[in-house]
Structures are given as structure tokens and as C-alpha cells.
């Protein structure tokens, strides 16, 4: 599951995730009819439009054994909200089944693939943003930290106030930009406090927000998906 944002803006994240999973022996397929899980519409109150997008997803992944998403919030959309979205409709069982086999990338590596070590070297001081939906809707918190711990040379500095939102919130960012910008400024302050060279995460939407503010403030922190670091340092 490459997600609309990952397809259009961050193709390198999908490429990296594929590389890592293939190196772990996973046969990866990209059903080309997928576009977007419907989350932007769902969170903005457009249920019909969200259902349309979600239907396309049900079709796209109908035969996939596992669905791995490079975005925590998109995985959460499928896992948590698809059953609600299709409640009482003919697709309900299908939606529940897809929800049960949809995983966020780090969750798939640790909980499904049982990865306990990685042949990855990456020399950097990194901090990590636990996106809210990844943390609260998926309960994925220590999985990425475990993966970070497997990377040789990596120095992990936890982010202060890590459980706090970066202020993105989908259309919230442009519907209430004043509030959103203030929140991301707070987040950027915390990132800078860590003195990290890189900010990693599992959701490019939040990272686009924090990264966009970091670069606007002229900060040199590199912002990347965890998969990119794993792919880049693989076998080094």
C-alpha cells in the first residue's frame, strides 16, 4: 500500500520499503489500481467519497495475503475505520478481513516477520516522531524503536513530548492553518532540542508537515521514513 502521498511525492519511500521486504524474503506486489485509502475524505466528513475510495482499495487488495502500508495513518484508516465505514453494507465482511491483514511497515517487520536483527549500518544521531494514529489507533510504539535498536551505528535520541501531535491533521492543516502552524512550530522546537541529524517516522504526511516547517526555518535536519534508512544501510 503505497498511499497517494507516497505515490506522488515520496516514491523513494515505497522503493525503500520494497527493497527491505524483498531482502527479508517477502514477495512484494503492487496492485496498480490502488490510489488512496480514503482517509482525507473520511476525516473531513465526506463519507460517501471515502467509501468510494475504500471500495477501490478492497478490490485492489482482494487477493493479497498481507497488505503493508508505508503510512501508519492509512493502515489505521483500514484497520480502524473501514469496519465502521462499511457497517451494515455488503462489503462489511470483506472490509473486516482486509483490516485484519493490513499492517503498518514497522509493525509488519516486527509482528509478522518476527525480525530480531537487521544487517543495517547507519551512522547518525536520529530522533523519531511517533505519529498519533500509528501510536493510538494501531498501538505501534515500541516496534519502530526495536528496529532502530537493530541498526548498527545509530544513536537514538527520543523526542521530548513524543506523544504530542505535530499539528498536521489532514485538511486541518489548511482549514485551520494558524493553529496547525503553531503546533508544528512546537514540534520543530522539540526536534531541534534533540540535536539529531535526522528525524525519522512512519508516516510521510506528518513528516511532510514537520519537514516543511524545519526547512522553512532553515534547519538542516534530514527528514525520512524509517524504511529509507533501513534500505540505504542494508548490507553495508
Amino acid at each position: 500500500m503505497i498511499t497517494c502521498l507516497g505515490d506522488a511525492l515520496y516514491p523513494q519511500v515505497g522503493v525503500a520499503a520494497v527493497k527491505v521486504m524483498e531482502a527479508l524474503g517477502v514477495e512484494v506486489d503492487f496492485p496498480p489500481s490502488q490510489v488512496c485509502c480514503g482517509q482525507p475524505a473520511f476525516n473531513s466528513g465526506y463519507r460517501e467519497e471515502a467509501r468510494a475510495a475504500a471500495r477501490a482499495y478492497l478490490k485492489a487488495f482482494a487477493v493479497s495475503e498481507h497488505v503493508v502500508s508505508i503510512s501508519g495513518s492509512c493502515a489505521a484508516m483500514v484497520r480502524r475505520h473501514y469496519p465502521v465505514l462499511f457497517e451494515g453494507l455488503t462489503e462489511e465482511a470483506e472490509a473486516r478481513a482486509l483490516a485484519a491483514r493490513t499492517w503498518e511497515f514497522s509493525q509488519f517487520l516486527t509482528d509478522v516477520m518476527d525480525v530480531t536483527e537487521l544487517p543495517v549500518r547507519h551512522k547518525a544521531r536520529v530522533t523519531f516522531h511517533h505519529s498519533c494514529h500509528t501510536r493510538r489507533l494501531l498501538g505501534v510504539v515500541e516496534q519502530p524503536e526495536r528496529l532502530l535498536g537493530m541498526v548498527e551505528g545509530l544513536e537514538y535520541v527520543p523526542l521530548p513530548r513524543a506523544e504530542e501531535c505535530c499539528g498536521f491533521g489532514g485538511t486541518f492543516a489548511v482549514k485551520m492553518p494558524v493553529i496547525s502552524s503553531s503546533l508544528v512550530d512546537d514540534k520543530v522546537d522539540h526536534v531541534l532540542e534533540t540535536g539529531a541529524d535526522e528525524l525519522l517516522g512512519l508516516d510521510m504526511s506528518c513528516l511532510m508537515n514537520i519537514g516543511g516547517r524545519l526547512s522553512r526555518r532553515g534547519a538542516g535536519v534530514r527528514v525520512r521514513h524509517l524504511a529509507e534508512v533501513l534500505a540505504e544501510g542494508w548490507g553495508r
Binding site: G6, D7, A8, L9, Y10, P11, Q12, V15, L24, G25, V26, E27, V28, D29, F30, P32, S33, Q34, V35, C36, A41, F42, N43, S44, G45, Y46, R47, E49, A52, A53, A56, V63, S64, E65, H66, V84, C132, H133, R136, L137, E164, C165, G167, G169, F172, A173, V174, K175, M176, V178, I179, S181, L183, D185, D186, N209, G211, G212, S215, R222
Partner: protein, 531 residues
């Protein structure tokens, strides 16, 4: 191109919301103050929950009591009312704010009341009781210190449990000095002492005490108050008449079911194991009682609540008004409590304010959330705040609907014009377009093609003066990728504060199509291969 197709009129609730939010964001000392306030509250909250052992079990217990009560609310209301009357109290069911106000004002007139003392009550704020009492000629004094300060300042409560949390010492000194008619030192103890002197006099001379009710115990007709300052006891025992104003959902079946609520309310609300006072009031003064009012009235307020019952919004009535959701809400902290323009602030306000009577024009509140879920984690009663916000958004977008399950009053009244609608039409159009593209890969690919085709055009706009040029501005990003510094239309709301990456030269799908295949067709079965 205009930034907004339809700028909100000057004095709509939405315009006020924007103004308050902008002012709060711009006020850096206030920002830091609220930031610190939340950090401290969150610390105590966590301590008080860790202290419990398994806080989740207690939350389950609270939610179970609340859900059960709501499921049988009619029965418990009848039982509660009968028991209040049996104990010698009067009960009045008020269908709306006006009925409640009228009843209490009537009591005040009948008793010739000149001085009213009030112990903090959200419902009395909700129904606008103070003004109604003032109209009878009575002088009304809030006796909770925070509420007293807010009243003197002429402000709405900023927070459910801390009406004046946003005020810093110099401002409080100024307000209390003016009230006391003397120059008080900027010293918390001295300021509290001054307020105490004034309030003591009011307690001793009041003819009417008005309180809320944290809980009403149906099995005995008892009103339970949870307070810290002792003002609750003074208000409910000293004046000869006591009026309780309570929301109709505040009941618990019996004393046993009260336990988890008493355990969790102070822990969630203020991060303490127990409040200083827990008062239980059953009826007026009886023969041989040392104190207590001669007359007790319990006003049970509906004001939109019964219309929420039985709908998908019922869970909002599980709330026990602890204020903890606001203590964890980053949006509350950032835009400030007054942005809600309601007595109910924080995430619970964003859900409840648009649902209650008399809150028309609050359709934007459910959108004032990032849906981060911090409130869901903080709530002792398991009110599914994020899910309710999502439901409200869907109802606002759907507009007026005959669906009985739709939001009772969020939907804009027909013919009310566009300024009260939270949802400009172009969003609806945008999401129509979204659905078309999201269901057709070819269309999406074509859109991406156009977008990457625009790259050189966008790039050529680089160098135009950002101060004057409304069009796009670009600069190479840190990683060599171009980033958008300025863009027209809705994108500008993003680029005002943040850079935006441009679409990649080739989408993932394109890269995938080009990728060398190791013999297997793209449609190969996605079964996992062993290592």
C-alpha cells in the same frame, strides 16, 4: 485568485473563533503559560493514574456505570426525583434553558432574594442563570476562586475545572485589587486571603445558594458535590434556600456505582487521589440538623440532552466533566479555551457545544481537532471523542437531513445563509474530484503527469518577489528536490508556514512499471516466499 472564495462575515461565531485563535497564537507569554499548565496537569494526571495500579480497569468501570445509567435514564430520573421529594426537596424538570432560568428566578423573587452565592456549576453557565438572577435585582457572586476571578473579569470559564487557568498573577492582582478597592500585593496568599474575606461576607449574608451537582444518587435522592475549596459546603449549608441545577444525565444508580466515579473524577480532573471535600446532600435541613437550608430545589435540565439520547451521539453524555481532555489537547492549548465560545471547552466542548440547544453556528468546532486521539486516552469515562468528532463532521458536511440519527443542532438551519456553514462549497467539489481520481488509476496517473509537467513552469516562477507575487515560488530543497515556498489558493494556507515538496518526477507506480522483473509477471500471486 482569492484566498477564500467567501470570507466569513465579521461577527459570525466562526469569525470570532478565528480571531480568538489567532490572538492566542500570537500571545507568546500566554502560549508558554498554557504549555506549562498542561505539562504540570499531565504530570499529575499520570501520577494519579500510575498510583491506581490498573487505571484502565477503573476507566472501564466508570464507562460501564455511565453507559448503564444512560441506557436506563428514564427509570433513574424518576427514582431520583421521587427520592429527592421524599427527603423534602422540590424537583423541577426544565425542558430548556429558559424554563430552568425562569424557575430559579421565580424562587428568587418569591423568597425576596437579594444576595446569591454560587458554587461552580457548568449547567448554570450553560443556561445563562446569572443574568436571569441579576434581572430579579439580586447580586450574584461566584464563590469558586477561579470562577470568582473570571466573573469579576467578565469572562467565560476558560477550562471546565479551572475557569481562570489562563490568567497570570499580575492580571489576577489587578482584578482582585479592583474588587477589594485596595492595592493588593502580587502574592498568591495575600490575593487568596482578600478573596476569602469578600466571599466570607457574601456567604454569611446570602439568601440563596446555587450549586451544580457532580452526581445525583438515584437510590437515595442525594446530590454529591466534589470540591476543593470548601465553597461548595458554604453555598449549600449557609443560605436558607439551596437550588441545585444539574444536567439530566448526571445520575448514578446507587452508592456502589458512585465509587469508580469518585475514584476517577479527581484523578483525571486535577491529578489528586481525592478532593478536599466530597459533600452529599439529601433533602433540606431536618429536625436536629446543625445546619442546612430550609428549602431545597433540584432543577434537572434537559436543554438538548434527551434529543442526544438514543442517537449515535449518546456516548457524549457519559462525560463526568473532569476537564482532562482539555489538559491533553494540543489544539485547546494552542487556540485557547475562549475559542470554543461555550462554557464547555476542550474536546468535550468541540463535541458537546454544537449538540446542545442554543449553539447554532458552532459547526466549525468539530473541525478544530487534529484527531490525534490524546483526549480519548485521557478520558476517564471513555467518551469516544475522536469518533464523535468524525460523526459530527460527517453530519456537518451532509447538511440538513431528515435522519433522526443526525446531529441535532449542528446542521445549519435552512436559509441561514452561507456564513454559518462550516463547509465552503469548494471543499465539497474538491472531494467529489478526489473520489473520481481515487477510484480511477488512469485519472490519477494523468493528474500526476500534469503535476510533474507543471514542475518546470512552477520552477520558472522562482525568483519572483514573494512580497508581491501571489503565484508560486520555488527553491531547491535540502536534498536537491524542489520545494514550494509559496502557492496560491488553499495551498497557500500550507505554504504560509511550511515548504511543500513538489510531485516527484516519476510516481512510485511509474517506477514500479519500469522496474526489471525477475521473470515473474506483475500479477503474480503475492504469497510470501520463504528465505
Amino acid at each position: 485568485m482569492r484566498r477564500r472564495s467567501r470570507p466569513p462575515a465579521a461577527d459570525t461565531p466562526r469569525a470570532r473563533f478565528d480571531a480568538v485563535a489567532r490572538a492566542t497564537v500570537a500571545d507568546r507569554p500566554l502560549h508558554e503559560w498554557l504549555d506549562n499548565y498542561q505539562a504540570v496537569q499531565q504530570g499529575w494526571h499520570r501520577w494519579a493514574h500510575d498510583d491506581l495500579g490498573d487505571a484502565e480497569e477503573w476507566r472501564d468501570a466508570v464507562a460501564a456505570v455511565r453507559r448503564h445509567t444512560l441506557a436506563h435514564l428514564d427509570r433513574y430520573l424518576a427514582e431520583f426525583a421521587a427520592n429527592v421529594e421524599r427527603a423534602g426537596g422540590h424537583v423541577f424538570f426544565a425542558a430548556d434553558a429558559e424554563e430552568a432560568r425562569e424557575y430559579v428566578a421565580d424562587v428568587a423573587r418569591r423568597k425576596g432574594v437579594r444576595r446569591v452565592v454560587k458554587a461552580k456549576s457548568m449547567v448554570s453557565e450553560e443556561i445563562g442563570l446569572d443574568a436571569a438572577l441579576a434581572a430579579t435585582g439580586a447580586e450574584v457572586t461566584e464563590t469558586d476562586l477561579g470562577a470568582y476571578i473570571a466573573q469579576l473579569a467578565g469572562e467565560r470559564p476558560y477550562h471546565i475545572t479551572g475557569p481562570a487557568v489562563h490568567m497570570r498573577l499580575p492580571r489576577i492582582r489587578e482584578i482582585l485589587s479592583r474588587a477589594a478597592g485596595e492595592d493588593l500585593p502580587e502574592e498568591p496568599d495575600a490575593l487568596a486571603a482578600s478573596a476569602r474575606r469578600t466571599l466570607r461576607d457574601r456567604f454569611l449574608t446570602a439568601d440563596l445558594g446555587v450549586s451544580g451537582a457532580n452526581f445525583g444518587v438515584a437510590s437515595t435522592g442525594t446530590v454529591v458535590l466534589v470540591t476543593n475549596e470548601g465553597n461548595g459546603r458554604m453555598t449549600t449549608t449557609l443560605p436558607p434556600t439551596h437550588v441545585v441545577v444539574m444536567g439530566m444525565e448526571r445520575l448514578v444508580p446507587d452508592w456502589r456505582s458512585l465509587e469508580p466515579l469518585l475514584v476517577m473524577l479527581p484523578r483525571a480532573g486535577t491529578g489528586e487521589r481525592l478532593t478536599t471535600y466530597v459533600s452529599a446532600i439529601t433533602g433540606p435541613r431536618r429536625e436536629g440538623d446543625a445546619d442546612g437550608p430550609e428549602e431545597l430545589h433540584v432543577v434537572i435540565v434537559d436543554n438538548g440532552r434527551s434529543r442526544i439520547l438514543g442517537t449515535k451521539y449518546q456516548a457524549v453524555l457519559q462525560c463526568i466533566r473532569c476537564g482532562s481532555c482539555a489538559d491533553f489537547c494540543p489544539v485547546y492549548r494552542t487556540m485557547g479555551g475562549h475559542a470554543y465560545d461555550s462554557v464547555y471547552t476542550g474536546p468535550i466542548g468541540a463535541v458537546l457545544a454544537p449538540l446542545l440547544d442554543g449553539s447554532e453556528g458552532r459547526e466549525h468546532l468539530p473541525f478544530a481537532s487534529t484527531l490525534c486521539g490524546a483526549c480519548d486516552d485521557a478520558c476517564p469515562a471513555r467518551v469516544p471523542l475522536s469518533d464523535l468528532l468524525l460523526e459530527l463532521r460527517a453530519d456537518v458536511v451532509a447538511g440538513p437531513s431528515p435522519d433522526a440519527n443526525a446531529a441535532p443542532s449542528t446542521v445549519p438551519a435552512s436559509g441561514s445563509g452561507s456564513s454559518s456553514a462550516a463547509e465552503p462549497r469548494w471543499w465539497a467539489l474538491g472531494f467529489k474530484g478526489f473520489a473520481a481520481v481515487a477510484t480511477r488509476r488512469r485519472l490519477w496517473d494523468a493528474a500526476l503527469c500534469v503535476a510533474s509537467g507543471l514542475r518546470p513552469i512552477l520552477r520558472s516562477a522562482r525568483g519572483c518577489d514573494p512580497g508581491r507575487c501571489a503565484a508560486s515560488r520555488l527553491e531547491p530543497g535540502a536534498s536537491g528536490r524542489s520545494r514550494l515556498l509559496r502557492a496560491p489558493g488553499v495551498v497557500r494556507a500550507w505554504t504560509d508556514a511550511r515548504d511543500l515538496p513538489l510531485p516527484a518526477p516519476a510516481s512510485f507506480a511509474r517506477l514500479w512499471r519500469r522496474r526489471p522483473r525477475a521473470g515473474s509477471p506483475a500479477s503474480s500471486s503475492p504469497a510470501r516466499r520463504g528465505r
